[in-house]
């Protein structure tokens, strides 16, 4: 089976470009050019140079000795948290800002949930001297204050999304409306593996550097390129897409996704899309989607702003439906406990999103010689206020 996007952007039955005609010229321009531009020598050279000198890649693949002892398997951490700006998001924004320049765009818009993608976008806009507007849900602005301040300091304008649940979904709606209103000079840097084709494929390719590095790094450490499992948390699914990419067609590698169960999958306050969703259309693609029987999109919930999204990228829907990936979900409490455990066993405070991936050990037992690579997608600085409240640290 093929787990990559086909020419029309479908992963099995999922994907495509369900967009209003107003967006057609922009999306079509991108569709026709993205692969050609992305694989030009000059593009690759500039992209790789920036990833190395500016982002600080390759990010380490770190053997987590104490965590491994605790959970009885060999755990490696892919340290995306050590990237400039503190998460994997910057891999994609570097790629897309170069793409925007090649397409002659001068104005950048983005949506953000936890603020990591917003910061990563504001950062590359500062780097390239481009105007930057970031849409962010009002609720997220309140719970991710440090990232809002960072974006402002980087020169971006943060516009609150005040409709609906006032979180990531609504910020995405506002960004799409902005793009409709500004069709000529603007490029929309989508931060996750969602949206109309070619976005899921483009974002996945920019993030695929994660699994590309895991392969040679693991070869150095374990004498083999393929781990037994790769594990990532999933909201829209960009760090997961990048972590899985080079292993999708390696059947001996188990692929594990951890979604946000919020207060429990059946609590009514959850973002566990694979468990709660049905096939539907959100933000321009057909995918698994949390919705009412009437087709209205449901307001999700998670303690982590970055996973608080009612859909999941079309690639992941296909991985779920086809059985290629195992899907689990972790509650707020499990994710917070896993974050605390990682902090105290390894001295690494993860983002709360990332904490969900580490909660896998609550749900799955690995064998002692299993090599498990976990995507440590982001660091927890931005979540300190939530940690302080939750663990009564102040």
């Amino acid at each position: 089976m093929n787990y990559n996007a086909d020419e029309k952007g479908y992963y099995g039955e999922f994907g495509g470009a369900y967009i209003p005609e107003m967006l057609y010229p922009n999306v079509e321009e991108l569709r026709q050019n993205y692969l050609k531009l992305m694989y030009e020598d000059s593009f690759q050279k500039e992209f790789n140079q920036l990833l190395k000198d500016y982002v600080g890649r390759p990010s380490p693949l770190y053997f987590a000795k104490r965590l491994s002892e605790k959970h009885g398997c060999k755990i490696y951490l892919k340290r995306e948290d050590l990237n400039h700006t503190g998460a994997h998001k910057v891999n994609n924004t570097i790629g897309q800002i170069l793409m925007a320049q090649k397409l002659g765009k001068t104005r950048i818009i983005a949506e953000t949930g936890a603020g990591q993608h917003g910061v990563a976008t504001a950062t590359v806009c500062a780097l390239m001297g481009m105007e930057c507007i970031v849409y962010m849900g009002e609720i997220d602005i309140a719970r991710q204050a440090p990232n809002v301040a960072r974006m402002k300091m980087l020169g971006a304008e943060v516009r609150p999304a005040k409709s609906g649940s006032r979180t990531l979904k609504d910020a995405t709606n506002e960004a799409i409306r902005d793009w409709i209103n500004n069709p000529v000079d603007t490029h929309y840097i989508i931060g996750s593996a969602i949206g109309p084709h070619p976005y899921p494929d483009m974002v996945t390719r920019f993030q695929s550097i994660i699994s590309e590095e895991i392969k040679w790094q693991l070869k150095e450490k374990e004498g083999r390129e393929n781990p037994d499992y790769v594990v990532a948390c999933i909201g829209g699914g960009s760090n997961a897409a990048g972590t899985y990419y080079h292993f999708l067609h390696e059947p001996e590698v188990g692929i594990i996704a951890v979604e946000a169960a919020g207060k429990g999958v059946n609590s009514g306050e959850s973002a566990a899309t694979s468990a709660l969703g049905k096939v539907g259309i959100i933000h321009g693609c057909k995918t698994m989607l949390m919705q009412t029987t009437d087709g209205q999109i449901t307001e999700p919930y998670s303690i982590s702003a970055g996973l608080d999204y009612p859909g999941v990228g079309p690639m992941h829907s296909h991985l779920y439906k086809s059985g290629r990936a195992e899907f689990y979900s972790a509650t707020d409490d499990e994710a917070m406990a896993a974050g605390l455990e990682l902090s105290q066993l390894e001295g690494i405070i993860p983002a709360i999103e990332t904490g969900h991936a580490f909660a896998i050990f609550e749900h799955k037992k690995f064998k002692p010689d299993d090599v498990v690579v976990i995507s440590l997608s982001g660091r927890g600085d931005k979540d300190l206020n939530t940690y302080i409240d939750y663990f009564k640290l102040a």
Binding site: M22, I176, T293, G295, I297
Partner: protein
């Protein structure tokens, strides 16, 4: 294919079409709004099926959609409200909405229901041309439904011809690059665009939408086009006046 829409398009007059969100201002206003609009000389109506995430709409229609959903509007309730509409109303009726609610209802079941009620056409901004042609065109036609596509100032000539070929009623001409309700008045750019489209001699007539709110903008839009659609301005009227004084609104247009 011929139905109430194509018949109306053949009349020698500029058509006034009005959009409203079903379930707004209150859940059961749908039938009264439709009947009043017909009584006051409106030529065609777009009944908006509200959606939680209306990507192509500005704040006015978003807010009316949110309110309608809060009032309890669903696809099933709308169909029930409309079941006897053809006993009192004879102008063309179009359902306008986003594709996901239709997909969940079942595309064929939705089309069948539309035919039973006497709906003449559908406007689904996020159902793209290629998906429509590959997967749904036959079903729409089986139930006598005209599908209306949008074009914008950025749509290429080649794409406009493609859309013209795929259309069997009219083309919804978005006046400017914008979500609904976001621009005021038409400038030189729009007039040039209206002229450009008129000179393409398309087989389908065009009806202009987005930015029409009064007599002046209606006249500008219909100088070359067959008609114009008013949405946000009428929603604002409903917000201020409820379902009363529809005549005051339509009298302002022509």
């Amino acid at each position: 294919m011929s139905n109430r829409i194509t018949t109306r398009l053949q009349e020698d007059k500029k058509l006034l079409s009005i959009y409203f969100t079903a379930g707004y201002p209150t859940l059961n206003d749908t039938v009264k709004i439709i009947e009043d609009l017909e009584k006051n000389g409106v030529d065609m109506i777009e009944i908006g099926l509200p959606f939680s995430d209306p990507l192509a709409d500005g704040p006015t229609i978003q807010e009316s959609s949110t309110a309608a959903l809060k009032n309890g509007m669903t696809t099933e309730i709308l169909f029930n409200q409309l079941k006897d509409i053809r006993k009192t109303v004879s102008i063309p009726l179009i359902i306008m909405g986003y594709f996901n609610p239709m997909l969940q209802y079942g595309v064929e079941a939705f089309c069948k229901k539309c035919q039973e009620i006497g709906i003449d056409g559908l406007i689904l901004p996020d159902l793209p041309l290629d998906v429509y042609q590959e997967d749904y065109e036959a079903t729409f036609k089986k139930y006598g439904l005209i599908n209306v596509f949008l074009i914008t100032p950025q749509t290429s000539d080649a794409r406009i011809h493609q859309i013209d070929d795929a259309s069997n009623g009219f083309i919804y001409m978005v006046s400017s690059a914008s979500v609904t309700g976001s621009k005021s008045g038409f400038g030189q750019d729009q007039e040039n665009y209206f002229e450009r489209i008129a000179s393409m001699n398309l087989k389908n007539p065009q009806i202009v939408g987005f930015g029409i709110k009064d007599e002046e903008t209606f006249k500008q839009a219909t100088k070359t086009a067959k008609g114009a659609i008013i949405g946000s301005a009428f929603i604002k009227h409903l917000t201020a006046n409820g379902t009363e004084k529809t005549d005051e609104f339509t009298n302002l247009i022509r």
